[in-house]
């Protein structure tokens, strides 16, 4: 069925059709059984939906709301804005640490500290072991980066896509 004709019939039933168009449609209805059948479908829909009842909640609805007003303080949680700020913060932290690491800042500091603190007596009592500080820091960076992407996904991307999906 023609979409504009459908629209006319809906407006006709909603009482929105101007008098002239209304009269014209009524003339067409007299001569077209197909048009009448279509109008009946729209009328049936309107009649059925108009009998929708407004539902009543339970009797203690209001009391439950009032008793929970203070108890159930809702936390702000992760809003997309907070999530994005957190993501930016983590990324900046990762970049700063990467910059210092790239310039050998942490490695030098650790060497100096080891040289200064390593007394001969202490060296004898502690068994020798090698710790690669760069490896640990790299590991921390990878974990921090992974966390930042999870935060971005949970607080910004997922809600955004869910909202878009809901809007179809």
């Amino acid at each position: 069925m023609n979409s504009s004709l459908d629209e006319k019939m809906m407006d006709y039933l909603d009482g929105l059709l101007p008098a002239e168009e209304r009269a014209q449609l009524e003339r067409e209805l007299l001569t077209s059984p197909r048009l009448r059948e279509r109008l009946e479908m729209f009328r049936l829909l309107a009649q059925t939906f108009s009998k929708q009842s407004v539902q009543q909640p339970s009797k203690d609805f209001t009391e439950s709301v009032l008793s929970d007003l203070n108890r159930k303080r809702l936390s702000a949680g992760f809003s997309p804005r907070n999530g994005f700020l957190l993501f930016v913060g983590v990324v900046v932290a990762v970049l700063v640490v990467s910059f210092f690491l790239g310039n050998g800042f942490y490695g030098d500091q650790l060497n100096i500290a080891t040289k200064e603190l390593a007394l001969p007596q202490l060296k004898q009592s502690i068994p020798a072991f090698n710790v690669n500080s760069n490896l640990i820091i790299n590991g921390i960076l990878i974990v921090a980066s992974a966390i930042s992407f999870v935060v971005l996904d949970r607080t910004v991307l997922k809600p955004l896509f869910q909202k878009r999906m809901h809007q179809f």
């Binding site: 069925m1 979409s3 459908d6 629209e7 809906m10 059948e37 279509r38 479908m41 729209f42 049936l44 829909l45 309107a46 009649q47 059925t48 939906f49 108009s50 009998k51 929708q52 009842s53 407004v54 539902q55 009543q56 909640p57 339970s58 609805f61 209001t62 439950s64 709301v65 009032l66 929970d68 007003l69 159930k72 303080r73 809702l74 869910q162 809901h166 809007q167 179809f168």
Partner: protein
């Protein structure tokens, strides 16, 4: 419909007057619950979502500037809360025929009438959720097109198209269903 002294009531709630809020809750609870029920199709969850929405509205009342009607602002919170509950729903136990389209049958318990309701409910099920909600809110008659758009946070034209498309599809589905039924008789 708004309460006659609504702005004053809202001001009183802002100063911490819970009895004023009781009046607002009592006035709007039915429609708030109905909207939540249409989204969730489950009374228990719908009631919980509507209550949560009223609590949120109370806590965020300071953000209500009066640009829109209080009811539209409130129902938008109900809509968002119910949608977030819907996302958490893992299994829908109830059938849309028995819940989404709740009808009163005062004085018309005829088989024909029951059949019509059944067919419309069946046709409604063919639509996507947003179209179902838009068309049902539109037909509730409490809401204008602008209010439905406000509640669903979509442009008026989008909602208009959505409702128009939904009614067309419902009419098509009904025609098919009734023809099919006629063939089986």
């Amino acid at each position: 419909m708004s309460l006659p002294n609504e702005p004053q009531l809202i001001d009183r709630v802002r100063t911490g007057d819970k009895q004023a809020y009781r009046m607002l809750v009592d006035h709007y609870k039915s429609y708030a619950f109905t909207i939540a029920l249409k989204i969730l199709n489950q009374r228990g969850e719908a009631e919980e979502a509507a209550q949560d929405a009223f609590i949120k509205a109370y806590q965020y009342l300071h953000t209500f500037k009066g640009d829109s009607k209080f009811s539209t602002w409130l129902y938008r919170i109900v809509f968002n809360t119910a949608v977030s509950y819907k996302r958490k729903q893992k299994v829908v136990f109830t059938e849309i025929e028995s819940r989404t389209l709740s009808l009163t049958h005062e004085g018309e318990h005829t088989l024909e009438q029951e059949d019509k309701h059944r067919y419309v409910a069946k046709a409604l099920k063919q639509l996507n959720e947003a179209d179902q909600l838009a068309v049902q809110l539109f037909y509730l008659q409490e809401f204008s097109l602008e209010e439905v758009a406000g509640i669903m946070q979509q442009p008026v034209n989008t909602v208009k198209v959505r409702i128009h498309r939904a009614r067309q599809r419902l009419a098509n589905e009904l025609t098919l269903l009734l023809k099919k039924e006629a063939l089986t008789l």
